[in-house]
């Protein structure tokens, strides 16, 4: 099944890429086949049986609707018949005209059925047409199917009659005419086929429209069963010309082919690339609209080597990364792959994020992914992050240095962080947008507009969070307003935090930590793996593995 799906995928790709060429090519091939078959069947006029003429006609058919091809076939048939029997040609012309006026014009879109049945019956595959019509068209296509059956049997009679040499006497003409009409009206097999095909179309159509699982498969099977049973019962009274075995083989092969057609049909139906052109006052537009398709083939997985626990930890961070813009994703993966340790990478990210320490902003951003948070946790107790479908809610308390809460609603991300006394900022992003605002307490001027926090080394916040969002970025002015709001809302929290942790505890220690972080960042910037490893061990050791 997977292989089939992959073939389907490949077909979609080919179709989307080469659809504009593929369709005329297929029509050309179909035209060539059909005209060659007609020439083989009744190629009386040698001028029209040459390969050049056939190729030219097929080429013409490649660029015109199928109905024109049907018309061409009718004309060519008339020419061939006219070549051997002029009177017969008139009869054929009149019958074709009646067929068109009474029946074919009712369902012009199924013109191909009229052509397909006479072409497929000689190779014992005519049974495919009613199944196809039942699966794709409306019950009105019964008319086309019956016309096709009529044309097939009519051409057999015409072929037989064309061999009879006729004088121009009235008696001879009348005799010929009667022979043809008797041949048509007395052909019980033709009427039997018409009735069975109509039944098959109805059964297939109504079953495939029903709302239950595998309706399409059941419809094809039932259609085939009706066809086989119909012909078997019919065979009791009218001996089939082609024989029962041939009929059975034809029916089964047709149904198998129908299953394949059905498998690829829906795909091709909905993957048609549209090309259109239009204009407005300023531009001419030449648009190629490619429908979005579902990827059914297996996606490539990036395998990272890490311990089981770390993998668990990084699960979420990984999920975020998948949504990150490419450049960021690259950067993150580069880090991981080089050091070979996701946890360390997360720490690095964390540290990098905290580089705005350098900017005089003594705040540690708390809004990072769980992994990051946990890695650096310790006394900076980073938060836990919880995400619902499309939502991300993060609450992190940045330990001593203040608490942060960030919440994101569907597609939105709003973050408010307060970094101790030095109120941290707030960042908010909408679906596909990233808006970051970093309010920096009394140094409140620093707002950053960055792709994602994961953009290592940049002064951004929230690698994980930003991953959930992508797209448009900050407007600083707007940020100002929001920052005030955020600051206001977190004021109480901040104040508490300050009182609890900051006011009395030793500032010296905080400064020391910040200094430490800064130099760690420098190591990362210099990309000194050994040093990073050491530091990482030291950090995880000191701040626990929570």
């Amino acid at each position: 099944m997977n292989q089939l799906l992959e073939i389907k995928e490949k077909m979609i790709h080919v179709y989307q890429k080469a659809g504009i060429i593929l369709i005329p090519v297929l029509k050309f091939l179909m035209g060539f086949l059909v005209f060659t078959m007609l020439n083989a069947y009744m190629g009386y006029d040698s001028r029209f049986t040459t390969t050049e003429v056939t190729l030219l006609l097929a080429l013409f058919c490649a660029f015109v609707p199928v109905s024109v091809m049907v018309l061409l076939l009718a004309i060519l048939t008339l020419i061939h018949v006219y070549c051997v029997a002029k009177i017969l040609a008139i009869i054929v012309a009149l019958i074709f005209l009646v067929l068109y006026l009474m029946f074919a014009r009712l369902s012009p879109k199924q013109g191909y059925a009229i052509m397909a049945i006479p072409m497929l019956f000689p190779i014992n595959m005519g049974y495919l047409v009613p199944l196809l019509l039942g699966m794709t068209a409306s019950p009105l296509s019964i008319v086309s199917a019956c016309c096709g059956v009529f044309v097939y049997y009519f051409l057999i009679i015409v072929r037989e009659t064309a061999q009879i040499s006729v004088n121009n006497s009235v008696e001879d003409i009348l005799a010929l005419y009667r022979y043809v009409i008797d041949g048509i009206l007395g052909n019980k097999e033709m009427f039997l086929t018409m009735v069975i095909f109509s039944l098959v179309i109805l059964v297939t159509y109504f079953i495939r429209r029903m709302k239950y699982d595998h309706a399409f498969g059941i419809a094809i099977t039932s259609g085939t069963m009706v066809m086989i049973l119909g012909f078997l019962f019919g065979n009791i009274k009218i001996a089939l010309e082609s024989g029962v075995v041939n009929m059975l083989v034809g029916c089964i092969l047709s149904s198998l082919l129908m299953v394949i057609i059905q498998f690829i049909r829906l795909t091709l139906d909905y993957t048609a690339v549209e090309r259109t052109q239009f204009e407005d006052d300023d531009y001419y537009y030449y648009v190629k609209a490619v429908p979005k398709i579902r990827v059914t083939a297996q996606e490539k997985n990036v395998v990272t080597i890490s311990s089981a626990r770390e993998e668990k930890d990084t699960g979420r961070a990984g999920a975020f990364r998948e949504n990150e813009p490419d450049d960021l994703q690259l950067e993150a993966f580069e880090l991981e792959e080089t050091v070979g340790n996701k946890k360390l990478a997360a720490s690095i990210e964390k540290i990098q994020k905290s580089t705005y320490v350098k900017n005089g902003v003594n705040s540690i951003d708390a809004g990072s992914s769980t992994t990051t948070g946990r890695t650096l946790a310790g006394k900076y107790k980073s938060g836990s992050s919880s995400g619902r479908t499309g939502d991300l809610t993060e609450r992190s308390a940045a330990g001593k240095y203040g608490g942060t809460s960030s919440s994101a609603r569907t597609g939105d991300l709003t973050e408010r962080s307060a970094a101790g006394k030095y109120r941290s900022g707030s960042s908010s992003g909408r679906t596909g947008d990233l808006t970051e605002r970093i309010s920096t307490g009394k140094y409140r001027d620093a707002s950053s507009t960055g792709r994602t926090a994961a953009a290592a080394g940049r002064t951004t916040s929230a690698a994980g969070r930003t991953a959930a969002s992508a797209g448009n970025y900050t407007r600083a002015a707007d940020a100002g307003k929001r920052m005030v709001n955020a600051a206001g809302k977190t004021a109480a929290n901040t104040e508490n935090t300050r009182k609890t942790y900051w006011g009395t505890s030793d500032r010296r220690r905080v400064d020391e930590e910040l200094k430490n972080l800064t130099s760690f960042t420098d190591d990362i910037n210099d990309f000194n793996p050994i040093e990073i490893e050491k530091r990482h061990t030291s950090y995880t050791g000191r701040y626990g593995k929570k």
Binding site: L94, L97, L101, M102, L106, L174, Y177, T276, V287
Partner: protein
Amino acid sequence: MLDEDKIRLMTRLSVYEEKTGKEDLKMNGYYHADYVALNVRKTVISVTIAYIIILIMVGFYYAEELLAQLVGMDYKALGMKILTIYLIILAIYIVVVVFATHIQSRVARKRVGVYHKNLRHLKRYYKRMEEDE
């Protein structure tokens, strides 16, 4: 400056106009009753022509018998028979055509509705653009 939203909208409109919209819009150009009447007229004409051809063919088939009974034939009864069959066939065709046209135009009107909605969007869009300028 290219505006993606506008291009999307215009593409949607353009694709529709070039494909299914062609027939739909033509259909929509008529009042419903007029469109049905037009189809009925076309059907009457084609059925009549086809019927005449069939009559000629049947006549030709029975040419010998007809020639033999030329004098003593009940033309009135024959005419009535021919006319009755014609009217029955015509009635069947008209019913089918009216029914089919009705369904067709109902489906088409839905699609045209969506098309007009998109057109209105585009109009509003231009209005907004003008106001911005």
